[in-house]
Subunit: 304 residues, 2 copies
């Protein structure tokens, strides 16, 4: 049991991590810009702090004095996060967080990276051998912080790991994101306009991703670790699976939207996650989609 600080605690990954940490008996402190108005996980101490304000990360570390940090905060506004200058602020804030943590004697730091650190079209990505050629400011900034973290961690005796998240789906996903959009549209008997779905990606259910982060945090594994299923799948296959389960294949309009970018081809080698961290996923894609559809049906009754 440790005193754990979770940043980005109100985000998609963060909100799924909090109950898992509490269930494991940790003393959990959460920080986000604003305390969520509802649905705060029991047993979590909440700290309102904008980490992008210089001095903000140090203040939270000073208040909490965590033994472990799970650093999930970063810009995530759909569509905008790839390019926004806020990426700069998150590198700066992440470094301040890491420095303040080390100065207060912190020992274990795990952060959320991204498959965008690899690039766009690299096929299977292995943590220590696939070249890193991020094509966006988001990927570049995530990776810049990771490189700084790795290069400095031995000098400051910090145990540090970096979970590179591939593609997520599941309950509480932002409604404008692909899987959430298609499920909601089909459940509401509306058309879902999609691209051809030729991207070949690696999807992991949000509950599994959160559990993988907790397993990584509690492990001694250092360096980059892919957070993914390890199973490449064409996006159209997922969309067809959703349509099949909801039994509304006629509402799914593949090719209704044009994509001007070359298709993504990016999936993970998950040997580090499964063999070194020892993580075992709970959902395969079919079960994960089913669980997400069920959640969507139940939550549709209540306003988002």
């Amino acid at each position: 049991m440790s005193r754990v600080l979770v940043t980005g605690a109100s985000g998609f990954v963060g909100a799924h991590c909090l109950p898992l940490l509490v269930a494991k008996g940790h003393q959990v402190h959460a920080v986000s810009r604003r305390r969520p108005s509802a649905g705060i996980c029991r047993g979590v101490s909440w700290h309102e702090q904008d980490l992008l304000v210089p001095g903000g990360p140090s203040k939270v570390i000073q208040q909490v004095k965590p033994e472990m940090v799970l650093h999930l905060a970063w810009c995530a506004a759909p569509g905008l996060f790839w390019e926004t200058p806020e990426n700069l602020g998150w590198v700066r804030a992440s470094i301040e967080l890491m420095q303040a943590f080390v100065e207060k004697g912190g020992r274990r730091f795990v952060g959320a990276g991204s498959c965008a650190e690899y690039g766009r079209n690299l096929g299977q990505c292995t943590e220590d051998s696939t070249p890193l050629r991020p094509a966006t400011p988001y990927g570049t900034c995530k990776n810049a912080f990771a490189q700084v973290l790795f290069s400095m961690s031995s000098a400051v005796q910090l145990s540090a790991a970096w979970g590179r998240i591939f593609f997520l789906y599941g309950p509480h996903e932002h409604p404008s994101r692909l899987v959430a959009y298609v499920i909601r549209s089909l459940l509401q008997a509306e058309h879902a306009d999609c691209s051809e779905g030729h991207d070949i990606l690696d999807f992991i259910h949000i509950s599994d991703a959160a559990a993988a982060f907790i397993a990584l945090l509690e492990s001694p594994v250092e360096g980059a670790v892919n957070i993914a299923s390890g199973r490449p799948i064409a996006v159209r296959q997922i969309l067809e699976e959703i349509a099949r389960q909801i039994e509304r294949p006629e509402l799914l309009r593949l090719g209704a939207r044009q994509s001007h970018l070359e298709p993504w081809k990016l999936w993970a080698d998950v040997r580090r996650l499964t063999k070194e961290v020892g993580f075992v996923p709970r959902y395969d894609l079919r079960d994960g989609i089913r669980q997400t559809i069920d959640w969507s049906k139940n939550s549709a009754a209540t306003p988002a």
Copy 2:
């Protein structure tokens, strides 16, 4: 003529840049932790500010509202700078500086990188094609900031360049650094204990390096630019040149110190500097060493 802010203004490169900027008619603002007690260049407005304090860079930008920034500040303590956690602080401070500059409408940002961003043993280094495999936290952190700077500059409409400095020598070099140490020792008729000098490096006189930075700042060239002579030379050749000019070859003890590291082999492709920036150096190695020895003789009379 522009309002130019120079960070690290009291450092080896900075101190040589200030009079060049003043001579070119710029309105020059200098910032360093402490105002130098003597030898401040006329026509320079000095600002005392520790840029490592969160909020410090924003404060200076707010005060000066520069049109151009020449960002030379970084940790430089001989021997220590490779590994010190202060490297983290400089990434953070550099990002804050860049962000504050952009927010105040700044247009041209040039920073000081290092050949250590390339690695240790890569032979000739070309800015856009030599792989970056920094072997130290210093090289990693310098490069992390450069990558962040490049990836974000087009999004925020900043014209940004990054001068990767190879090996410097000349007046006011820190006395514990190699060329300064050997010159001083031989002038004082003392032995200079050195390694075998098998490293093959690229040395540029500090006056040329400073002039190259000013030329880069005033040019529209973006991205990484090597600041170097482009001429590889074995370290023992430089040391023998010093001994020859001072006429005390018997005091130079090559091999008296053991190096446990494999030799550096690192020199610059300077086509970008000469062709795109249009920089013409003033010194070749022989003249540069002579000028440095002359300066050392004259400054030996007065305390450092």
